[in-house]
């Protein structure tokens, strides 16, 4: 039972991280209808920038409180990533608004490689340590073995709060309405007085800031930063976003959590369940199989709306 | 009128269709007699297009019976319905935009031909022969609906609107339908263009194809149709000869309105 509970906790933490990234994906998708494959790389840049800021602060202001350091690092990383994201949009996506559907995919791939290479030039190829700024104190649990720490709680809370914030932004605010209008029909949004380019640019900037947040959370959780670190989480988060119904904000959260739980429980129990034929090495398969099964029955994901293509 | 026209080519009885909580069709009965042009009219959102979608198998009915040529059929697979002999056009034109005009019609021949990919790779005699016939027939059909053959190699999306409507009809005719179902064929046409559409539809009728047509242009419908069904809120509120329908107070109330000029 301890093990089971622990696996649930593991899954929730992992899932929250996926959710956090997936939220960024989904929001951009929601507005532009394209998958920003470079999102993972923006996340990586965010983590690196935060790390650099932290190192600088450590040198010039020794003894600054951890949380303050982290706040400053976050603000700088989020701002930088917002700008990076905005330029990605301007360079790679804006010229392709009316291009065939797969064209932005190619420039997104180009962007990913570009950002990875830049990171490689600036910060080198070796994985770097990300200092433990979030408290990792274990939270006492009634059950002896089960462990969760403050940092993990912070991660879970961050993603929930982010989701709620985005929900309010998109559904309750004027800017959110402009986002949704743009997503449905940018031309019509234009004649409603929406400056579409601006809305898209802001959305990307918000996406970039979210990526930075996710990057810092990942870096803090695992204590490692690497120019390749965005790729796999990006892929997983994309999976999560699709699982939940891409473009749907609660869907991204749900998809992320579900994916985390599936991976955790999958890795935890698949060996026993299959009598040792399969092991935790099939962890990733598990997630994809669940994804395929879900999509067979719900072709637009768990919470994705059925956009009936009317005849 | 020959005896033929008295046979029901299409008959649907007690058809229901729900979208979530919305009861789009509730207990609709229709008959289309062979050789006639039958009109389906009604206010916006009455369920006319839905009715087409059910008949052609694009949607599945919650309940109801469908008969084609006296035989019961189950419209679940669109291709089966089409093979059985019902072809349609769409309210919002749905051509294969990037394909050429000719190719659009050739796709219509798909169900009546059978060459497979092995034949295509080996370029067998029968495949080539069939391909030649498909092309020949496609050209004939373009001419039939009045699209100049000079336009045959244009992309479909580059055709003028009126020609796109005609092309949709040609594509549907290519499947050799017994029943041609047209969803607002005159939408967006001006009166002059409507007149020439009128002529085309009469020609199709006289060449033996039965037509079921949704249309909001009352003048066109009244002039063309042998029989009319009126749908409102998913139910047939009136049916009869054009004159009868025109006088029906329920129809006037729900659909026609009291302005005289529009009739």
């Amino acid at each position: 039972m301890d093990t089971f509970l622990q696996q649930i906790i593991n899954g929730l933490v992992l899932g929250s991280i996926y959710s956090l990234i997936a939220l960024g994906y989904t929001m951009v998708y929601g507005v532009l209808g394209i998958i920003n494959f470079a999102h993972g790389e923006v996340l990586m840049m965010g983590a690196f920038i935060a790390l650099t800021v932290i190192k600088v602060l450590n040198v010039y202001f020794p003894g600054m409180p951890n949380l303050l350091i982290l706040m400053i690092a976050f603000i700088i990383a989020a701002t930088s990533c917002a700008l990076i994201s905005r330029y990605i949009e301007m360079i790679a996506y804006r010229p392709l608004r009316n291009a065939p559907r797969l064209a932005p995919l190619i420039s997104a791939i180009g962007m990913s490689i570009l950002l990875q290479t830049l990171a490689m030039i600036i910060w080198g190829r070796t994985p770097l340590n990300f200092p433990e700024l979030l408290p990792a104190d274990s939270i006492p649990m009634s059950r002896s073995e089960v462990s969760i720490n403050v940092r993990e709680i912070i991660i879970i809370l961050t993603s929930v709060i982010t989701m709620l914030g985005l929900l309010i932004l998109v559904n309750r605010t004027r800017f959110g309405r402009a986002m949704r209008a743009t997503s449905e029909n940018p031309q019509i949004a234009g004649i409603m007085g929406v400056n579409v380019n601006q809305v898209i640019a802001y959305t990307f900037m918000l996406g970039g800031a979210l990526a930075a947040l996710a990057g810092i959370m990942i870096a803090s959780n695992y204590g490692s930063v690497h120019f390749y670190m965005g790729f796999i989480p990006g892929l997983k988060a994309f999976t999560a976003a699709v699982l939940g119904g891409i473009g749907n904000i609660p869907g991204a959260m749900l998809g992320g959590l579900l994916l985390g739980l599936i991976e955790s429980l999958g890795a935890g129990y698949i060996g026993e369940l299959s009598g040792g034929v399969f092991g935790s090495n099939y962890q990733d398969i598990f997630a994809f199989i669940v994804l395929i099964c879900v999509l067979v029955f719900r072709p637009s994901g768990l919470l994705g709306e059925k956009l009936g293509d009317r005849a | 009128m020959t005896m033929d026209t008295q046979i029901d080519l299409l008959k649907i009885t007690n058809v229901h269709k729900r979208f979530g909580g919305l009861h789009a069709l509730s207990g609709v009965n229709l008959e289309v007699k062979k050789g006639q042009i039958v009109g389906l009219i009604g206010p916006n959102g009455a369920g006319k297009t839905t009715c087409f979608n059910l008949i052609t198998g694009l949607y599945t009915a919650n309940s109801g019976n469908f008969y084609l040529n006296g035989k019961s059929y189950n419209p679940v697979a669109v291709d089966q319905v089409l093979k059985a002999g019902i072809a349609r056009t769409f309210q919002n034109i749905r051509l294969f935009k990037e394909m050429s005009v000719l190719e659009n019609v050739m796709v219509g021949r798909h169900v009546r031909t059978k060459a497979g990919f092995i034949g295509a790779i080996l370029k067998t005699q029968s495949t080539m022969e069939e391909e030649r016939k498909i092309k020949e027939r496609a050209y004939e059909l373009l001419q039939y609906v009045g699209i100049r053959s000079a336009l045959a190699d244009q992309k479909a999306k580059n055709l003028p609107y009126g020609d796109q409507r005609r092309l949709e009809i040609a594509r549907a005719l290519a499947t050799e339908p017994l029943l041609l179902a047209l969803d607002e064929p005159a939408a967006g046409m001006n009166q002059t263009e409507k007149n020439s559409l009128n002529t085309l539809l009469k020609k199709i009728q006289s060449d033996g194809t039965t037509i079921l047509m949704i249309e909001h242009d009352v003048r066109l419908v009244m002039g063309l149709c042998d029989y009319i069904f009126v749908l409102d809120y998913g139910q047939v509120i009136a049916a009869g000869l054009p004159e009868q329908v025109r006088q029906n107070p329920a129809v006037i109330e729900a659909y026609l309105g009291h302005r005289k000029e529009s009739v």
Binding site: F288 | F90, V107, H110, G116, F117
Partner: protein, 356 residues
């Protein structure tokens, strides 16, 4: 008529050029460039297969490399000592190992891959666009992970170690794995394979052109353009999509088998997601759905990185006298920028063939 003749002459000239190519290249740049050509041909094979799925039928497939893997492992198992080494029963039956002829392996690889193609197609029929993308991506990963782990409980694929000692293609006593000495000329293995690949790619091009112009090809394009209208025109979209998946996959399978024979060694590393993406980029960048464009795309994307590899360092040395930035970094930067720029200025591909 003269137009037709022109085209024939052009084709003939291209063909002759293709025949002389490896000699020219090997004379000027060495066998390395011939090998690059060999791989370009294999990519061409793959890209043409993917083009059927993505370009003709409009089904976005991010896991196409899985079929390449299936083909490669089919060859790997049927033409190497691996199975006989792990299964004693087979060893007793065939003490010298399994050495099935490639005349058999190629069709088998194609068929098995086609089967997997249909297997992938079946659950994905209802999915559109990005949903299809993620499922196919997942499928590709599933295959790779299985290949990587199917060494236990029984050692079928030899797991991460990969399968070594795969026979080269052997036709009529000529082994494509060794330099052939023929009437005083020695033809290196890379050139032999070039001709083999060229022949098969030409076959594939022929097949693709014929399919494209056929009733089936037309039906695929119709589905791509508007699935609902295609259904309403009586196309059995389910079967047609499955057919596209299967044919596309079979091309992947055959080229996978060729890859295995050419390398002599395969391991799951060769079948990663990034390879799927590279092939997709070839199709899209070249000109989706347009066969000459796809061929161009595959040659460019296979050749361009290698061109950068051999020019970036000498160029720097020439200009600055020393290597300022590591060659591989410049290579990545150029490659990435090229992707972005090309698609920026040619959004429907370099040679999209659309008359618009």
């Amino acid at each position: 008529m003269t137009n037709q003749q022109m085209r024939l002459w052009m084709l003939f000239a291209t063909f002759i050029a293709a025949l002389c190519m490896p000699w020219l290249v090997s004379f000027m740049g060495g066998n390395y460039w011939v090998r690059v050509l060999d791989f370009a041909l294999l990519y061409c094979f793959l890209a043409l297969g993917l083009n059927i799925v993505v370009g003709f039928a409009g089904l976005l497939d991010l896991g196409y490399i899985a079929f390449y893997a299936v083909g490669a492992y089919t060859a790997g198992l049927l033409a190497s000592p691996h199975l006989t080494n792990t299964f004693l029963e087979i060893k007793q039956a065939m003490p010298s190992g399994l050495h099935v002829s490639y005349l058999l392996i190629l069709p088998i690889a194609g068929l098995i891959a086609a089967f997997f193609g249909a297997l992938l197609g079946a659950p994905t029929l209802k999915l559109r666009g990005d949903y299809l993308a993620i499922v196919t991506l997942g499928f590709g990963e599933i295959i790779r992970i299985f290949l990587n782990n199917l060494d236990r409980p029984v050692n079928l694929t030899n797991g991460a170690n990969g399968i070594n000692g795969i026979d080269p293609v052997q036709i009529g006593g000529i082994s494509f794995g060794k330099t052939l000495h023929l009437a005083g000329i020695s033809i290196p293995s890379v050139i032999l394979n070039y001709y083999l690949f060229l022949f098969l790619v030409l076959m594939v091009i022929l097949m693709c052109t014929r399919i494209q112009d056929s009733r089936i090809g037309r039906a695929w394009v119709a589905i791509r353009e508007d699935e609902i209208a295609a259904k309403a025109m009586g196309l059995n979209t389910r079967n047609l999509k499955l057919l596209a998946f299967a044919i596309g996959a079979s091309f992947g399978g055959v080229s996978g088998a060729l890859f295995a024979s050419f390398q002599g060694f395969i391991s799951p590393e060769s079948f990663s997601l990034s390879e799927s993406i590279v092939i997709l980029a070839m199709v899209v960048l070249g000109g989706m759905g347009h066969i000459p464009g796809v061929i161009l795309g595959s040659f460019l994307l296979a050749g361009f990185p290698e061109l950068l590899r051999s020019t970036m360092d000498p160029l720097q040395k020439m200009m600055f006298g020393k290597t300022l930035v590591d060659a591989e970094i410049i290579r990545q930067l150029f490659y990435a920028s090229a992707l972005i720029l090309v698609i920026r200025f040619k959004p429907s591909g370099l040679w999209s063939g659309s008359k618009a």
